[in-house]
């Protein structure tokens, strides 16, 4: 071998160009694949503070104050509204229970929209914690319920109405499946989510037998004039895109003694809420005295949301009962 010749032959012009074209086109394909990132708005990304924030249960008092201040600034920047952001902790000796009177509910959906207004849920796309099922008389099979009933007036004589929301289970499957422990049950029985810790895997949404969790597919849109400025970390502060959210029995209200927004909106008094550990509370009496059932008892979730019903009284549109009353009158 000639010692003067190089160990590796220099590339020919042809092979160099071929390699260059391959690399250049490969790089352009890679850049093109990443080009949707151009549409990313800086507001879509978490700030460094949010990214480095610890889990809710590990936050010290100072760190919590910093987190609340950060949320306040974010709301101010996006909506130009000055909110009050707080962290409301559970009370001792309180376990919240909800009871709903199926004999009284008229399916007017006031609770659904009061909840949306109170909890700063997205208006477009719509996101609602409460579903009102229109059920045919004579069955509690939720598979036969209809969400999209559209009568001129309610109640319809041939149906009854069953609102479903988070049941705040004592044995919650959604908590068990969370891979990052972003959701847990508090001491007053309310299951909460740290919306800054949730990774949006939606396991909990799949695990919930009551269809009570909601995923933010898109950036929640709330008009500034409809934003509720009374916010709390674990409940109704605006949630980011890509996290799961849920009903918290309005914990920012109920932990200060108020009633949940859905109850305050109910025009017929079908909704009952209280501390079940207080034997004088309305819910404790309902559990003692009324015929009460829970949804899907067989799945073992031990819900804190009870349905009950009254002795039957006729409704104005109930023709069968009206005829019965006339016979009695004669």
């Amino acid at each position: 071998m000639d010692p003067n010749s190089p160990a590796v032959a220099p590339p020919s012009r042809r092979s160099f160009l071929r390699g260059a074209v391959t690399v250049a086109s490969g790089m352009s394909a890679a850049v093109a694949a990443l080009s949707p990132l151009k549409e990313l708005d800086s507001s879509d990304l978490p700030t460094l503070d949010a990214f480095l924030q610890k889990h809710y249960l590990e936050l010290g008092p100072g760190e919590m104050q910093a987190a609340l201040e950060r949320i306040r600034n974010e709301v101010q920047k996006r909506w130009d509204v000055d909110p009050v952001v707080r962290d409301v902790r559970p009370r001792e000796g309180v376990e919240f229970v909800y009871a709903l009177n199926l004999s009284r509910c008229i399916g007017c959906r006031r609770c659904v929209h009061a909840c949306v207004a109170e909890n700063n849920q997205s208006r477009a796309p719509e996101l609602q914690y409460i579903r009102v099922l229109e059920m045919p008389l004579g069955t509690t099979d939720v598979e036969r319920g209809n969400h999209h009933y559209d009568h001129a007036t309610v109640p319809d004589a041939l149906h009854y109405y069953m609102p479903v929301q988070c049941h705040q289970c004592a044995n919650p499957p959604c908590v068990k499946v969370c891979p990052v422990e972003a959701t847990w049950q508090e001491s007053d029985g309310i299951t909460v989510i740290d919306y800054d810790w949730c990774i949006g895997c939606r396991y909990c949404e799949a695990a919930c037998p009551y269809w009570a969790r909601r995923f933010n597919y898109a950036q929640p849109e709330i008009p500034a004039e409809e934003l509720n400025p009374e916010m709390s970390y674990l409940s109704n502060r605006p949630r980011p895109v890509g996290v799961v959210e849920k009903c918290t029995f309005c914990l920012h209200r109920v932990r200060e003694g108020k009633m949940p927004a859905c109850l305050e909106a109910c025009p017929v008094g079908a909704r009952k809420f209280g501390n079940v550990l207080d034997p004088e509370s309305e819910v404790a009496r309902i559990l003692r005295e009324k015929r009460v059932f829970v949804l899907k008892e067989d799945v073992g979730t031990l819900p804190r949301f009870f349905y009950y019903f009254d002795e039957r009284y006729p409704r104005p549109a109930d023709e069968e009962d009206a005829a019965l009353g006339q016979e009695t009158a004669k």
Partner: protein, 214 residues
């Protein structure tokens, strides 16, 4: 010739660019447009707790008229006064079942005892015992303000604060718009569960049409 390697890369680049230009758009339905006024917070009816009658600009007690003009012994449907009152209370279809015949500013309970309007709950209770029992326990009726049983903010409504005593059934109401969420679909979505055939209900199929065999 290995021209297919760069050709594939360039084709991919074209696909990516075109796809990105088309963009990812979620099928976001418009907002329902429900405003706070639609929620009509509060009880369905503001009670008329005092026996007064508004006539033009004058507010007068019932007795002021009834002392001058005695009402017929059996006032029935053909009233020429109080025409705004629609009496639709089942078998209870006579004024004097509840109103005291002598003292028009008071109510009367079974046995002839006269009670003031502020004690109207007792009047309702003498027929509606089951509901009254539930109401006493807080099971029937609206409780708002606070769930704490000893809170000053707690407000319990009495019978006639929700029910019109002359026509106690709630009037039908217009429901607020139904869900149009990404998960449940727009309002026109046929309910998928309603389409399922329930094998336990085949006996309901009309005679002459045997259920389909699969």
């Amino acid at each position: 010739m290995r021209f297919w390697i760069p050709a594939t890369f360039l084709a991919l680049a074209a696909v990516f660019v075109l796809d990105a230009r088309r963009g990812v758009r979620l099928p976001i339905p418009p907002a329902s447009g429900v405003v706070e006024a639609d929620l009509a917070l509060g009880p369905p009816r503001i009670a008329l707790q005092t026996p007064t009658m508004q006539n033009g600009r004058y507010l007068m007690a019932c007795s002021e008229c009834h002392a001058l003009f005695p009402s017929p012994a059996v006032p029935r449907e053909t009233l020429f006064q109080h025409t705004h009152i629609r009496l639709s209370h089942g078998l209870n279809d006579s004024c004097y079942n509840c109103h005291d015949r002598a003292n028009r500013d008071a109510l009367v309970v079974r046995g002839g005892e006269t009670i003031g309007f502020e004690r109207s709950v007792e009047l309702c209770a003498q027929c509606h015992g089951l509901v009254f029992r539930d109401w006493q326990a807080g099971i029937h009726g609206r409780t708002s303000g606070s769930w704490e049983t000893n809170s000053p903010d707690r407000r319990r409504l009495r019978c006639s604060e929700c029910h019109d005593p002359h026509s106690p059934a709630f009037p039908p109401v217009v429901p607020l718009p139904g869900p149009s969420t990404l998960r449940m679909g727009p309002p026109s979505t046929p309910d998928p569960h309603g389409q399922h055939e329930n094998p336990l209900e085949r006996w309901k199929a009309p005679a002459g049409e045997p259920p389909e065999e699969h």
